[in-house]
Every structure is written in structure tokens, then in C-alpha cells.
Symmetry: C2
Subunit: 212 residues, 2 copies
DNA sequence: AATACTGTTGATCACATGATCAATAAACCG
DNA sequence: CGGTTTATTGATCATGTGATCAACAGTATT
């Protein structure tokens, strides 16, 4: 892959290969851009990004026609495969106890979204009104929360049943952990799974779904 | 484009005078700046703001030495008195049933924060790392959630008691309604009080605190 | 080694942006 | 009215910013 990354006749400690293959360079730019825009926002300046990468600003425009195109690539990288349809299948798999399904989902999902870059870029793009956000949240609604509501309705024995709004409330309470951590930079529990578990159990208990 | 010039000989209805008293003008600028920065973010350009107000960009700098000073004034206007200490008193007033106290608080609080300008400026400033945000959230912790936790502990008869993290979860689930509405611009219930009530009742039920 | 190819640079353009200041005109006052 | 004050403007400065391009230098090919 990298031919002369470290083993170079160098006079300095860090000697990056001056010249990369386009695919490599492009990916490098995207990766760095994700971290960069996550930190400073989508109004971050191309010169600052280039400086951080260690290339010239003009090189950015050899790989992306405009800054918007670069941001699109950032979106793509960050949003891609963030919502797998496999989750839907596991949520409706009634061979597994409902509580386990919910906990399994939020355990996976939280490790995926409680991440600095994702959390912040999602918030920045949301504030900017990006269509991608509504698409994502609609996806969340259709692929996760709606099936989940159906499962709870089936599993709930009594007449007190949750609404979709209740599910958004459950979801929001959990997501808010990540917001506190990465947007507001507040001290948060190292392992959010405990809080998630308690939250889910309170929710299920309210509708008399079996919890241990 | 100039809609305000024509008025001074005209004694008709309240036409904005071209020339305002400094206090008035200053307040007008702040008010418009709040709405403006809430919409486009703190990187909004002074020329766009001036155009929206209907004044010249240079006039802004007669009232605020720098753009940062203007943003500070925006913060002040938006954050000021957002957390009243009166709420603490009402939360610990044990002559009122606990459930009523909680619902009363979140009913008031939600009408205060489920507002476009507040929600978005809070999020923008949070992303920008403003110290004000952490101060505000610390205030929320000390003045609201901590007393509230104490009240619930007292009122809860059994050994299953909430933690502070549980309270943040309750809080986050409610706040998330406003985030969905104003940050992500998703369709939300017209009256959030119903969802709030259900959320609070689920919470209290989990700790066997009396609910109707 | 010589040559062609192309990833990369440094200079530069055109315009945007925060900030400044002398000139202007609306309000105030005698 | 006439004169003073000052809120407001229009022009302007210095720098920032996205984008462009000819020239350069590392790599591969012959």
C-alpha cells in the first residue's frame, strides 16, 4: 500500500509520501474532512483543512470540484450504512425475547452513533437543513421504530399500549446521552448500556412487557 | 426596497422612523440578530443581517464593536432568565403531589424551550463550544434535576430508586421533542404535554410513585 | 537513461467579509 | 428659523476565501 511511508531517506521525523495514488489521496482527504468538519462545522475553511492534512489547498480542488462536493462526500461517508436493514429483521425476530431484541439493538446502535464525528456532523447537517437528515430519521421511523411498536403491541398484554410518540421518547432519551457527550461535551457514563437498559426496562414495565 | 423613508411627514399608523433612539435601535438589532443567527447559524454574515433589518452593515458596528460582541448580546438575550430559581422552589414544595410538581415544571419549561430561536441558538452555541452551554446545563443539574431526584427518592417507597442518569434520561426524552421539531424540522405533536405526561408517568410508575 | 505521464505546488484571481471613517441628514433646541 | 448634535449612510480598507492554472517534480514506461 504505502511504499515510502516511514522508510524514507528523511531528515525529519514525519515524512509523508509526497505523492499518492488518487484513490488513496481521495480517501485520505475524505477521512480528514470528516474529522475536520465534525470539529469546526461545515463552514470550516478549505485552507485549514488542507493544512491539517498536510497538502496544499489547491490540491483539494483536484479531487473535489467544489467545497460542496467535498461536503457531499463527507455526508456519504458518514451516513453510509449507518442504518442496516438487518436490524429490522432482528427486531421482528420473535424467537428472541422482546427485551433482548430491544437491548441488542440499542447496544449496537449506541456504539455506532455515540461517536464524536457522527454525532456532530449529524447535528451540523441537521441545523443546515440537509435533506439527508430527514431521510435518515424517516428511515429510522420506518425500519426501526414502526416495527418495534408493532412488536411491543403484540407483546403487551393489557390495554395500555404505547404510541409512536412514546417510542420517539424512548429513542430520544437514549440519543440524548450522545448529545450530552459530544455536542455539549458534558461528563457522561463510560458505559451507556446500563442507562439504556434501565430506560428500556422502565419503558417495557409501563406496558407490562416481561422484564427480568 | 426602502419602506421606511416615506413616513416622517406622514402621521399615519406606526411607521418605523428612519432614525431611532439608540436604545430602541440596539434592541431592534439584538432581536433581529437572535432570529437571524438562529436560522443561519453564528457564521451568518453581518451584511445579510443588516439587509434583513433594513439598515446598513456599518451601522451594526456603531452599536457593537465587533461581531463577537453582537453574538454575546444575542447569547445574553436568549439565555437570560431562562432558568428561574422559582422552579426549584416549586419542585421541592411538598404540599403539592410530586407528579403535579413535575408536570407543572415540564409544562412551563417546554413552552419556554420548545421555541425555534432558543432551541437552535442553544444548539449552535453548544456545537461552537460556548461556555454558556455548560453553565446552563450545570444550572439545570443543580437547580432542577438534583432537587427533583431528592424528591423522588423521598416519595419512592421501594428499594428501586432512580439515579441521576435516569433523570437525565427522562429530561432528554422530553427535550428531544424540541430537537426533532426545531433542529431536524420533523413533524411533531401540536401539544407536547400529552407526550410529556405519559413520559413522566412511565418514569414514576417504574419507581412506584403514585400516579393517577 | 530518456521520455511521457500525472500528482502536486505556488501564485493568483474575483469576490466576500469584518471593520473603519468622513460625509450626510434627521432630530433637537435656542 | 438657524444652529448644533448625532444617528445613519456610502465608500473604502485589509484580509479571508473558494476556485483556477501554469509550472514543477515524483513515478512509471520504454
Amino acid at each position: 500500500m504505502n511504499k515510502q511511508n516511514v522508510a524514507d531517506a528523511d531528515s525529519g521525523p514525519k515524512m509523508k509520501p509526497r505523492r499518492l495514488h488518487p484513490e488513496e489521496r481521495r480517501q485520505q482527504i475524505i477521512d480528514e474532512a470528516v474529522a475536520f468538519f465534525a470539529e469546526v462545522g461545515l463552514d470550516g475553511k478549505t485552507r485549514d483543512l488542507a493544512k491539517k492534512i498536510g497538502i496544499t489547498q489547491s490540491l483539494l480542488f483536484k479531487y473535489f470540484a467544489t467545497k460542496d462536493a467535498l461536503i457531499e462526500a463527507v455526508y456519504e461517508q458518514v451516513y453510509l450504512n449507518r442504518l442496516s436493514s438487518e436490524w429490522t429483521h432482528r427486531i421482528v425476530d420473535r424467537s428472541v425475547p422482546l427485551r433482548d431484541r430491544i437491548l441488542a439493538f440499542y447496544s449496537d446502535y449506541s456504539t455506532l452513533i455515540f461517536e464524536y464525528n457522527w454525532m456532530r456532523i449529524f447535528m451540523f447537517s441537521g441545523l443546515a437543513g440537509a435533506e439527508l437528515n430527514r431521510r435518515y430519521l424517516d428511515h429510522m421511523h420506518q425500519m426501526i421504530l414502526r416495527p418495534l411498536l408493532e412488536e411491543i403491541l403484540v407483546a403487551s398484554p393489557n390495554t395500555v399500549t404505547p404510541t409512536m410518540e412514546d417510542l420517539w421518547n424512548l429513542h430520544g432519551g437514549i440519543v440524548y446521552i450522545g448529545i450530552r457527550q459530544h455536542i455539549y461535551r458534558m461528563p457522561c457514563p463510560d458505559d451507556p448500556n446500563e442507562a439504556i437498559e434501565r430506560s428500556v426496562d422502565r419503558f417495557l414495565k409501563a406496558f407490562s412487557v416481561a422484564t427480568p
